[in-house]
Point group: C2
Chain length 160, copies 2
Protein backbone atom coordinates (compact mmCIF):
# COMPACT_ATOMS: atom_id res chain seq x y z
CA UNK A 1 0.00 0.00 0.00
CA UNK A 2 1.23 3.44 -0.88
CA UNK A 3 1.53 6.24 1.65
CA UNK A 4 -1.27 8.13 -0.07
CA UNK A 5 -3.66 5.22 0.37
CA UNK A 6 -2.65 4.88 4.00
CA UNK A 7 -3.31 8.57 4.53
CA UNK A 8 -6.80 8.09 3.12
CA UNK A 9 -7.31 5.22 5.54
CA UNK A 10 -6.13 7.40 8.41
CA UNK A 11 -8.51 10.19 7.39
CA UNK A 12 -11.36 7.74 7.22
CA UNK A 13 -10.41 6.36 10.62
CA UNK A 14 -10.47 9.86 12.07
CA UNK A 15 -13.78 10.70 10.45
CA UNK A 16 -15.37 7.56 11.85
CA UNK A 17 -14.49 8.76 15.32
CA UNK A 18 -15.33 12.41 14.65
CA UNK A 19 -11.72 13.42 15.05
CA UNK A 20 -9.95 16.06 13.01
CA UNK A 21 -6.94 15.85 10.77
CA UNK A 22 -4.91 18.69 12.23
CA UNK A 23 -1.54 19.85 10.95
CA UNK A 24 0.06 18.24 13.98
CA UNK A 25 -1.51 14.87 13.33
CA UNK A 26 -0.59 15.13 9.70
CA UNK A 27 2.97 15.98 10.62
CA UNK A 28 3.30 12.98 12.94
CA UNK A 29 1.70 10.74 10.35
CA UNK A 30 4.03 11.86 7.58
CA UNK A 31 7.17 11.46 9.65
CA UNK A 32 6.17 8.03 10.92
CA UNK A 33 5.59 6.69 7.45
CA UNK A 34 8.68 8.36 6.07
CA UNK A 35 10.99 6.09 7.99
CA UNK A 36 11.47 2.36 7.96
CA UNK A 37 13.31 2.35 11.26
CA UNK A 38 12.03 1.58 14.71
CA UNK A 39 11.72 4.73 16.79
CA UNK A 40 10.70 5.80 20.27
CA UNK A 41 8.26 8.59 21.09
CA UNK A 42 11.17 10.75 22.17
CA UNK A 43 13.07 10.06 18.93
CA UNK A 44 10.05 11.00 16.89
CA UNK A 45 9.59 14.16 18.93
CA UNK A 46 13.20 15.06 18.12
CA UNK A 47 12.73 14.43 14.41
CA UNK A 48 9.68 16.66 14.32
CA UNK A 49 11.38 19.41 16.23
CA UNK A 50 14.24 19.45 13.71
CA UNK A 51 11.99 19.12 10.69
CA UNK A 52 10.37 22.04 8.97
CA UNK A 53 6.72 21.04 9.42
CA UNK A 54 4.58 22.48 12.19
CA UNK A 55 6.11 21.88 15.60
CA UNK A 56 4.35 19.27 17.69
CA UNK A 57 4.42 19.07 21.44
CA UNK A 58 5.50 15.95 23.28
CA UNK A 59 1.95 15.46 24.53
CA UNK A 60 0.56 15.51 21.02
CA UNK A 61 3.22 13.12 19.82
CA UNK A 62 2.14 10.63 22.49
CA UNK A 63 -1.54 11.22 21.82
CA UNK A 64 -1.13 10.75 18.09
CA UNK A 65 0.98 7.63 18.48
CA UNK A 66 -1.78 6.15 20.63
CA UNK A 67 -4.30 7.04 17.97
CA UNK A 68 -2.25 5.50 15.18
CA UNK A 69 -1.85 2.38 17.22
CA UNK A 70 -5.56 2.07 17.94
CA UNK A 71 -6.18 2.38 14.24
CA UNK A 72 -3.69 -0.35 13.50
CA UNK A 73 -1.37 1.93 11.52
CA UNK A 74 1.60 1.36 13.79
CA UNK A 75 2.65 -1.21 16.34
CA UNK A 76 4.65 -0.85 19.51
CA UNK A 77 7.32 -3.11 20.87
CA UNK A 78 8.99 -3.27 24.25
CA UNK A 79 12.60 -3.89 23.30
CA UNK A 80 13.57 -4.04 26.96
CA UNK A 81 15.13 -0.62 27.14
CA UNK A 82 12.58 1.11 29.30
CA UNK A 83 10.74 2.81 26.48
CA UNK A 84 8.43 1.57 23.78
CA UNK A 85 9.58 1.60 20.19
CA UNK A 86 7.18 1.94 17.29
CA UNK A 87 7.13 0.88 13.67
CA UNK A 88 4.60 1.50 10.98
CA UNK A 89 2.90 -1.41 9.28
CA UNK A 90 3.03 -0.04 5.72
CA UNK A 91 3.27 -3.21 3.68
CA UNK A 92 5.05 -5.08 6.47
CA UNK A 93 3.75 -8.48 7.20
CA UNK A 94 3.84 -9.62 10.78
CA UNK A 95 7.30 -10.29 12.13
CA UNK A 96 9.15 -10.73 15.39
CA UNK A 97 12.34 -9.05 16.59
CA UNK A 98 15.93 -9.76 17.48
CA UNK A 99 17.52 -7.09 19.67
CA UNK A 100 21.29 -6.85 20.05
CA UNK A 101 22.31 -6.64 23.68
CA UNK A 102 25.50 -4.88 22.66
CA UNK A 103 24.44 -2.05 20.39
CA UNK A 104 20.64 -2.07 20.61
CA UNK A 105 20.17 -2.77 16.92
CA UNK A 106 16.77 -4.27 16.10
CA UNK A 107 16.28 -6.79 13.30
CA UNK A 108 13.14 -8.49 12.13
CA UNK A 109 12.47 -12.11 11.34
CA UNK A 110 9.49 -14.25 10.60
CA UNK A 111 8.94 -17.97 10.93
CA UNK A 112 5.51 -19.30 10.15
CA UNK A 113 6.29 -22.51 12.03
CA UNK A 114 6.72 -20.51 15.24
CA UNK A 115 3.40 -18.77 14.63
CA UNK A 116 1.65 -22.10 14.28
CA UNK A 117 3.20 -23.53 17.40
CA UNK A 118 2.02 -20.47 19.32
CA UNK A 119 -1.53 -21.07 18.19
CA UNK A 120 -1.17 -24.66 19.22
CA UNK A 121 0.08 -23.66 22.68
CA UNK A 122 -2.92 -21.38 23.17
CA UNK A 123 -5.35 -24.07 22.11
CA UNK A 124 -3.79 -26.51 24.56
CA UNK A 125 -4.38 -24.01 27.36
CA UNK A 126 -7.83 -22.97 26.20
CA UNK A 127 -6.84 -19.43 25.27
CA UNK A 128 -8.07 -17.44 22.32
CA UNK A 129 -4.86 -15.94 20.92
CA UNK A 130 -5.02 -12.24 20.11
CA UNK A 131 -1.40 -11.28 19.64
CA UNK A 132 2.05 -12.03 20.91
CA UNK A 133 5.45 -10.58 21.62
CA UNK A 134 8.56 -12.52 20.72
CA UNK A 135 11.86 -10.78 21.27
CA UNK A 136 15.15 -12.63 20.95
CA UNK A 137 18.11 -11.05 22.72
CA UNK A 138 21.64 -11.78 21.65
CA UNK A 139 24.76 -10.35 20.10
CA UNK A 140 24.97 -9.32 16.48
CA UNK A 141 28.00 -10.26 14.41
CA UNK A 142 29.77 -6.98 15.07
CA UNK A 143 29.23 -7.16 18.81
CA UNK A 144 30.37 -10.78 18.94
CA UNK A 145 33.75 -9.61 17.72
CA UNK A 146 34.13 -7.06 20.47
CA UNK A 147 36.34 -7.77 23.45
CA UNK A 148 34.61 -8.17 26.80
CA UNK A 149 35.74 -4.65 27.73
CA UNK A 150 34.28 -3.19 24.55
CA UNK A 151 31.06 -5.09 25.13
CA UNK A 152 30.76 -3.69 28.63
CA UNK A 153 31.33 -0.17 27.33
CA UNK A 154 28.70 -0.63 24.64
CA UNK A 155 26.20 -1.98 27.13
CA UNK A 156 26.79 0.97 29.37
CA UNK A 157 25.96 3.20 26.42
CA UNK A 158 22.92 1.09 25.42
CA UNK A 159 21.66 -0.38 28.68
CA UNK A 160 19.08 -3.12 28.33
Amino acid sequence: MKQRAILAAFESFLRQRSLRLTPQRRSVFDRVFETHEHFSAETLFGWLREGDGPKVSRATVYRTLALLQEGGFIESLDAGRGELVYEHVLGHRHHDHIVCLGCGKIEEFHDERIEELQLEACERKGYELVNHTLVLNGYCRACQRKTPAERAAGERANPS
Copy 2:
Protein backbone atom coordinates in the same frame (compact mmCIF):
# COMPACT_ATOMS: atom_id res chain seq x y z
CA MET B 1 15.52 -28.45 44.88
CA LYS B 2 14.14 -27.76 48.33
CA GLN B 3 13.85 -24.28 49.76
CA ARG B 4 16.52 -25.08 52.32
CA ALA B 5 18.99 -26.00 49.60
CA ILE B 6 18.14 -22.82 47.71
CA LEU B 7 18.70 -20.79 50.83
CA ALA B 8 22.15 -22.34 51.15
CA ALA B 9 22.84 -21.40 47.55
CA PHE B 10 21.71 -17.83 48.23
CA GLU B 11 23.96 -17.61 51.28
CA SER B 12 26.86 -18.89 49.26
CA PHE B 13 26.09 -16.39 46.50
CA LEU B 14 26.11 -13.58 49.06
CA ARG B 15 29.33 -14.77 50.66
CA GLN B 16 31.07 -14.88 47.29
CA ARG B 17 30.28 -11.21 46.85
CA SER B 18 30.98 -10.27 50.46
CA LEU B 19 27.35 -9.40 51.02
CA ARG B 20 25.44 -10.07 54.21
CA LEU B 21 22.37 -12.10 54.87
CA THR B 22 20.34 -9.48 56.73
CA PRO B 23 16.89 -10.03 58.21
CA GLN B 24 15.44 -7.96 55.38
CA ARG B 25 17.07 -10.05 52.68
CA ARG B 26 16.02 -13.20 54.46
CA SER B 27 12.48 -11.94 54.68
CA VAL B 28 12.31 -11.14 50.98
CA PHE B 29 13.87 -14.47 50.12
CA ASP B 30 11.40 -16.42 52.24
CA ARG B 31 8.38 -14.66 50.86
CA VAL B 32 9.51 -15.02 47.27
CA PHE B 33 9.99 -18.76 47.58
CA GLU B 34 6.82 -19.22 49.56
CA THR B 35 4.64 -18.40 46.58
CA HIS B 36 4.26 -20.03 43.23
CA GLU B 37 2.52 -17.03 41.74
CA HIS B 38 3.94 -14.28 39.61
CA PHE B 39 4.25 -11.04 41.56
CA SER B 40 5.33 -7.45 41.06
CA ALA B 41 7.72 -5.55 43.31
CA GLU B 42 4.80 -3.60 44.71
CA THR B 43 2.82 -6.75 45.42
CA LEU B 44 5.76 -8.27 47.24
CA PHE B 45 6.20 -5.06 49.20
CA GLY B 46 2.56 -5.34 50.25
CA TRP B 47 2.92 -8.97 51.29
CA LEU B 48 5.91 -8.15 53.45
CA ARG B 49 4.21 -5.18 55.03
CA GLU B 50 1.26 -7.36 56.05
CA GLY B 51 3.40 -10.27 57.14
CA ASP B 52 4.90 -10.62 60.59
CA GLY B 53 8.57 -10.71 59.63
CA PRO B 54 10.79 -7.63 59.82
CA LYS B 55 9.37 -4.78 57.74
CA VAL B 56 11.27 -4.07 54.55
CA SER B 57 11.32 -0.76 52.73
CA ARG B 58 10.40 -0.45 49.10
CA ALA B 59 13.98 0.41 48.23
CA THR B 60 15.26 -2.77 49.85
CA VAL B 61 12.62 -4.84 48.11
CA TYR B 62 13.85 -3.55 44.77
CA ARG B 63 17.48 -3.97 45.72
CA THR B 64 16.96 -7.53 46.90
CA LEU B 65 14.96 -8.49 43.84
CA ALA B 66 17.83 -7.24 41.69
CA LEU B 67 20.21 -9.32 43.74
CA LEU B 68 18.10 -12.46 43.46
CA GLN B 69 17.87 -11.94 39.76
CA GLU B 70 21.62 -11.50 39.32
CA GLY B 71 22.09 -14.73 41.20
CA GLY B 72 19.63 -16.50 38.94
CA PHE B 73 17.20 -17.27 41.77
CA ILE B 74 14.34 -15.40 40.16
CA GLU B 75 13.45 -14.16 36.72
CA SER B 76 11.54 -11.12 35.63
CA LEU B 77 8.98 -10.79 32.91
CA ASP B 78 7.38 -7.80 31.26
CA ALA B 79 3.76 -8.86 31.00
CA GLY B 80 2.89 -5.61 29.27
CA ARG B 81 1.25 -3.94 32.24
CA GLY B 82 3.82 -1.29 32.96
CA GLU B 83 5.55 -3.14 35.75
CA LEU B 84 7.82 -6.15 35.86
CA VAL B 85 6.57 -9.37 37.36
CA TYR B 86 8.86 -11.87 39.01
CA GLU B 87 8.83 -15.59 39.58
CA HIS B 88 11.26 -17.82 41.39
CA VAL B 89 12.99 -20.61 39.54
CA LEU B 90 12.69 -23.26 42.26
CA GLY B 91 12.52 -26.43 40.21
CA HIS B 92 10.96 -24.64 37.24
CA ARG B 93 12.43 -25.40 33.89
CA HIS B 94 12.42 -22.62 31.31
CA HIS B 95 8.99 -21.68 30.06
CA ASP B 96 7.15 -18.91 28.26
CA HIS B 97 3.94 -17.13 29.23
CA ILE B 98 0.36 -16.62 28.18
CA VAL B 99 -1.24 -13.51 29.65
CA CYS B 100 -5.01 -13.07 29.65
CA LEU B 101 -6.03 -9.69 28.29
CA GLY B 102 -9.23 -9.85 30.29
CA CYS B 103 -8.20 -10.72 33.83
CA GLY B 104 -4.40 -10.52 33.74
CA LYS B 105 -3.95 -14.16 34.67
CA ILE B 106 -0.56 -15.55 33.70
CA GLU B 107 -0.04 -19.15 32.61
CA GLU B 108 3.10 -20.94 31.60
CA PHE B 109 3.83 -23.18 28.68
CA HIS B 110 6.85 -24.76 27.09
CA ASP B 111 7.49 -26.01 23.61
CA GLU B 112 10.92 -27.27 22.76
CA ARG B 113 10.18 -26.93 19.05
CA ILE B 114 9.71 -23.18 19.48
CA GLU B 115 13.00 -22.97 21.33
CA GLU B 116 14.80 -24.68 18.48
CA LEU B 117 13.22 -22.48 15.85
CA GLN B 118 14.36 -19.41 17.80
CA LEU B 119 17.94 -20.66 17.73
CA GLU B 120 17.60 -21.27 14.04
CA ALA B 121 16.29 -17.73 13.47
CA CYS B 122 19.28 -16.29 15.31
CA GLU B 123 21.72 -18.36 13.34
CA ARG B 124 20.16 -17.21 10.09
CA LYS B 125 20.71 -13.59 11.13
CA GLY B 126 24.17 -14.17 12.56
CA TYR B 127 23.16 -13.50 16.17
CA GLU B 128 24.41 -15.31 19.22
CA LEU B 129 21.21 -15.98 21.18
CA VAL B 130 21.37 -15.15 24.88
CA ASN B 131 17.75 -15.18 25.95
CA HIS B 132 14.29 -14.41 24.74
CA THR B 133 10.85 -13.18 25.75
CA LEU B 134 7.78 -14.84 24.38
CA VAL B 135 4.44 -13.62 25.69
CA LEU B 136 1.18 -14.70 24.11
CA ASN B 137 -1.80 -12.45 24.75
CA GLY B 138 -5.33 -13.72 24.52
CA TYR B 139 -8.47 -14.51 26.44
CA CYS B 140 -8.70 -17.35 28.90
CA ARG B 141 -11.71 -19.65 28.91
CA ALA B 142 -13.53 -17.65 31.59
CA CYS B 143 -12.96 -14.32 29.83
CA GLN B 144 -14.08 -15.75 26.49
CA ARG B 145 -17.47 -16.36 28.04
CA LYS B 146 -17.85 -12.76 29.16
CA THR B 147 -20.03 -10.34 27.26
CA PRO B 148 -18.25 -7.48 25.51
CA ALA B 149 -19.40 -5.14 28.31
CA GLU B 150 -17.97 -7.43 30.98
CA ARG B 151 -14.73 -7.70 29.03
CA ALA B 152 -14.42 -3.95 28.84
CA ALA B 153 -15.04 -3.64 32.57
CA GLY B 154 -12.41 -6.27 33.31
CA GLU B 155 -9.90 -4.58 31.06
CA ARG B 156 -10.50 -1.29 32.78
CA ALA B 157 -9.69 -3.05 36.06
CA ASN B 158 -6.65 -4.83 34.56
CA PRO B 159 -5.34 -2.45 31.93
CA SER B 160 -2.78 -3.92 29.58
